[in-house]
């Protein structure tokens, strides 16, 4: 018993002397080589799969000089593709903004039967291959499809025409806005709205003055992502477009055609537009993200500092 005590007294200080501070590691810290391995793997992966391709796009686009680069955009079919892309995004983004708000509102503020099914359905476009999404529309509205013959008799063409492209884009991009704001609205609950209503605000006033300001940054974030996807969507649009040059080609489809025609400079020049869009989206996204972070309220629990005050 007394021996054990002595051993303890002697050993402890010796251990302390032999353990310089540099060798003491925090419990959650990894050894240095693990840290460097992880970092270099990440950087290597990013370089190979992101930076090199991005660089390649711009190098190829400018291979024959800035004149050839700019020339690629004066081609009427390129202008038509840009125009169609803007029209498509211009229709589908506002519609999905409204749809996303409505869906998020329903899911976050009400209890109803089938809520979890609706929540799952919103994710459907993420889960289904875009090509399948396009084929669904061909099946519905194509000449051999369910509604095709009737639409044709009315003189309406949806597949291989602009309406089909817009429809497919709406389908592909509808989860973006809803997905961004649902968790936020669920977290914020309905108390502020209830407070507004007891104070005599109408439903519209409550939405405009209370709900919308609370979700505006998340909403904008969703819109940015939705827009990026709407402009860049390839698979679904490719299936329904029919690739009619100057009529039903969006930017991504136009790039594919140019590339297949060995017109590399023009293909990469037009592709650089999409790459730029991606960069702008990323920048906007990170700005908005920081705003979302700022707008997350600090804990609404009481602080100890107030004890003295009250």
């Amino acid at each position: 018993m007394s021996q054990a005590l002595i051993v303890n007294e002697v050993v402890t200080p010796v251990l302390d002397k032999r353990t310089p501070a540099a060798f003491i590691r925090g419990a959650t810290e990894e050894p240095l080589w693990v840290k460097y391995l992880l970092i270099s793997t990440t950087v290597g992966f990013l370089t190979l799969f992101l930076f090199v391709p991005l660089l390649a796009v711009f190098t190829e686009a400018f291979r024959k000089g800035i004149g050839a680069y700019l020339n690629s955009f004066t081609d009427p079919s390129a202008i038509a593709a840009i125009k169609l892309t803007l029209i498509t995004a211009g229709i589908s983004v506002p519609l999905n903004l409204v749809f996303g708000l409505a869906a998020a509102w329903a899911i976050a503020k009400f209890e109803f039967w089938g809520k979890s099914i609706l929540l799952t359905l919103i994710d459907l476009p993420f889960a289904v291959s875009p090509v399948i999404s396009g084929l669904i529309f061909v099946l519905l509205f194509g000449m051999q499809g369910w509604l095709g013959p009737w639409l044709d008799s009315q003189g309406l063409q949806i597949i291989f025409a602009v309406p089909g492209i817009v429809l497919a884009t709406i389908f592909i991009t509808f989860p973006f806005v809803a997905r961004e704001i649902i968790p936020l609205m669920q977290e914020q609950g309905t108390e502020e709205e209830q407070a507004a209503i007891t104070l005599g605000a109408s439903g519209w006033q409550t939405f405009w003055y209370v709900t919308l300001p609370n979700i505006r940054w998340a909403l904008l974030y969703g819109v940015i992502l939705c827009n990026a996807r709407a402009m860049g969507e390839f698979g679904a649009v490719s299936v329904v477009s029919g690739h009619v040059r100057g009529k039903t080609n969006t930017i991504p489809l136009h790039v594919e055609i140019l590339y297949n025609e060995y017109n590399f400079v023009a293909a990469f020049a037009v592709a650089s537009l999409l790459a730029l869009l991606a960069l702008v989206t990323l920048a906007a996204k990170s700005i908005v993200e920081s705003r979302i972070y700022q707008s997350v309220p600090k804990s609404l629990e009481p602080t100890s500092a107030e004890v003295a005050r009250s």
Binding site: T198, G200, A201, N214, L300, P302, A305, E306, S310
Partner: protein
């Protein structure tokens, strides 16, 4: 403005939150709805506000000032509602929060900008937060937030003020301060107010009348004095304040606990029945020797002199724990220490026989 509800029932799926509840609250009263969680008190408050609707029933009524408001939407009822977690508009300043109810009025009823500003500043003064107009809710402490929420609720000059556990999220000292402040405020503006709380001390201290609720029903309505000293049921007895419970037997107008007898003239039958005997800690006396009448023998377990009275814990021979409050003069007279064998005498006791109505 008086509030009257009649025959309200509310079910959520299989759960019954209110079972045929009727209640009248007089003009200018401050009434506390007191009960454990799940007793239906918040549901009752939200139905009065119009935030919930009672189950459809031809007999049920909600009247403000003897006029039915059953079909009226929340915004038309003229209620000020204060939420437990404040529900302040987080993106608006304190000023805009308080002004909100005035700003959203239809143009013809809306005060001018100057009037709104004067009103808000008057309210800021009332809640002692002058100079905080430009702060945001996240820059305020919990107590300050709740005062802003109160100012926001009374800015629209409601007919009644409804408070749902307004101090529930605050710590004890802040709660005490705000509670006194609310009482003073009520004495100043005389707004008919209903306060939901699970804190019996809060209810007894603030309210003119206390409505004790349990299991979707009202157990008792009365002044704090009435519900505390004359509890109408076992539940009220057990819920309000500390109480010692003994299991005894009644017959011939007396309840028996061991050798001790307590008068209970309400039950004069000869047939013995089991009964519960309740005594509050301050209603018991400790004596070192029996003075002719039999007392309840017990052993001192602990003496805790921290507080306004000494709290003595004892244990009877049957292993029942008892709390007795002893004034300090008396404590030094007795000179109690752990392990002493003493006798307990009730100054006052209440007897309840299960399933027996007086």
């Amino acid at each position: 403005m008086s509030i009257e509800v009649k025959h309200l029932t509310k079910t959520f799926g299989n759960f019954t939150a209110l079972r045929d509840v009727s209640l009248r609250i007089n003009d200018g009263e401050l009434v506390a709805l007191l009960g454990p969680s799940g007793s239906g008190k918040t549901t009752l408050l939200r139905i009065i506000a119009g935030l919930e609707t009672a189950d459809a029933n031809p007999n049920s009524e909600i009247n403000f000032h003897d006029t039915s408001v059953t079909g009226e939407p929340v915004g038309k009822r003229g209620v000020g509602f204060v939420f437990q977690h404040y529900a302040l508009f987080r993106h608006m300043s304190v000023f805009d929060n308080i002004a909100f109810g005035l700003k959203v009025r239809p143009r013809r009823d809306r005060p001018t900008k100057n009037d709104i500003r004067d009103r808000v500043h008057q309210l800021l003064k009332l809640i002692q937060l002058e100079g905080f107009a430009d702060r945001f809710p996240s820059q305020l402490s919990g107590g300050q937030r709740q005062r802003v929420a109160l100012a926001r609720a009374i800015a629209v000059e409601p007919q009644v003020l409804l408070l749902d556990e307004p101090f529930g999220a605050l710590d004890a000292q802040v709660r005490k301060g705000l509670r006194d402040w609310l009482r003073r405020l009520h004495d100043e503006i005389h707004l008919t107010s209903v306060l939901v709380t699970h804190d019996q001390e809060e209810a007894l201290e603030v309210a003119d009348r206390v409505v004790v609720m349990n299991q979707s029903k009202i157990e008792q309505v009365g002044t704090p004095e009435e519900v505390f000293h004359h509890p109408a049921s076992q539940f009220v007895m057990e819920f309000l304040g500390q109480v010692n419970v003994f299991h005894g037997r009644v017959s011939n107008g007396q309840a028996h606990l061991g050798d001790m007898a307590i008068d209970y003239p309400h039950y004069i039958a000869q047939q013995e029945r089991a009964a519960k005997v309740y005594m509050r800690p301050h209603e018991l006396d400790i004596k070192r020797v029996q003075n002719g009448v039999p007392g309840l023998p017990a052993t001192v377990v602990r003496v805790n002199p921290a507080g306004s009275v000494a709290k003595v814990s004892l244990r009877t021979r049957d292993g029942v724990d008892i709390q007795v409050d002893v004034p300090f003069e008396h404590l030094s007279e007795l000179g109690l220490t752990q392990g002493d064998n003493v006798f307990i005498y009730p100054k006052k006791a209440r007897v309840f026989i299960p399933d027996f109505a007086i």
